[in-house]
């Protein structure tokens, strides 16, 4: 997260990371966690990452929460560009950045992620959730 987005490692000091297969969850640290360990737990916190090929893909909800602390790999988009992404178009990214994920900012809000490949960004936003957004 620091290498790609400039999000400082210390920001995650307050969280526990749990993993299962190729998925990672974040849970806020609490002195009560050991006390409730007898409970049959269905899930916890928020899903943070998923290993996708050689990439570690952050989830939209994770990046919406922590993305405000990012200092690089950011793409600020306007209404027209957001509509283009939702419609499946690619946006040019004029920055010398390695292929990988970029954080999409819209009107100061972290919307989620785009994927940069060969200078073009495609949407990684869940289409069923953003298709009908009133922009």
């Amino acid at each position: 997260m620091y290498e790609r987005f400039g999000i400082k490692k210390e920001l995650f000091d307050d969280y526990l990371i749990f993993s299962k297969k190729r998925t990672f969850w974040f849970l806020r640290k609490s002195r009560f966690i050991s006390e409730v360990s007898h409970l049959k737990i269905k899930r916890l916190g928020i899903k943070a990452f998923q290993e996708v090929g050689s990439f570690m893909k952050p989830t939209t909800r994770f990046i919406q929460y922590f993305g405000v602390h990012a200092t690089k790999a950011l793409l600020i988009i306007d209404e027209k560009q957001l509509r283009q992404l939702i419609d499946g178009d690619f946006l040019p990214f004029n920055n010398e950045l390695e292929n990988g994920y970029v954080i999409l900012f819209f009107k100061g809000e972290v919307l989620g992620l785009g994927l940069l490949i060969k200078g073009m960004v495609r949407s990684q936003l869940a289409l069923d959730e953003v298709r009908y957004l009133t922009i």
Binding site: L27, R28, I33, I46, Y65, L133, T134
Partner: protein
Amino acid sequence: MYDFFSPYREIIPDFNSFIDSLNRPAPIHLRVNRIKAEPEKVVQILEERGITLKPMGDEGKRFFEASNLKSSGNLPEYFSGYIHPQALSSCLASMVLAPHRECLVLDMCSAPGGKTAHMADIMGNSGLIIANELYPTRHIPLGHTLTRLGVLNVIYTEYQAQEFPLKQRFDFIMADVPCSGEGRIRKQDESSNSYPSKPHPGDKLLDLQKKMILRGFDLLKDGGTMLYSTCTYNPLENEGAVQFLLNNRDAELLPIDITFPHMNGLTEFNGVSYDRQLYRAARFYPHHLNSVGFFMARIGKRG
């Protein structure tokens, strides 16, 4: 509608206004999610979109009536988790329970997650909330709501609330129990004449509510607080369940100190007397609050 609610004519003040209010659809209320956003910033963004926001209560810029909004689900601010559409009376439940930061909380019947997320907001996303929900299908909307709103202090469990394991005690418990849902009976929208179906609580439901309120109380730490709530007017499901608790445990009703309009709980209905403490419970009616009809009782376990 009048006939259905006529048994409550004596207990619902200004009964004709109450009936009139049921013929108007409930407005959309929005809660600003402080876990992810500053209320002032969210208000500015929404007003720039042409959404009229009317602040509700004296609690600062946290709850709003959005009178000209048809649906909030297609707003980018919904997608980003800055806002949550939630009935005002439902927001009040978490406010009244008021869980502290760094404490241990149980939400006995958590789905769809609005109250759970609001408690996380009040707790500054700290401490730990056990979000319990029996039905697997309800875990999907529950998980969706809590992750969208950035709730990171939560563990999900799937127990029957009335049989939740007793090994661990909690500082605060939200017991928003299954109910007949009379408080939700209201015209669906301006153009239609449809109402939700009229429910009736069976003995099984009343029995379940009693078991849940007892288990909730037994799960409290000494000095802990539980909120028992329903979205129904039926005294059997409200004061009746609390009376059952008072008859069987050394519980006390705590005052509910909020500025939103409400009536005191009943101490008598249909010839049945309830403990005098019940006046400390709160009844919320749609013609007073313009939201879902609601009942809540704040219950303490002596330390």
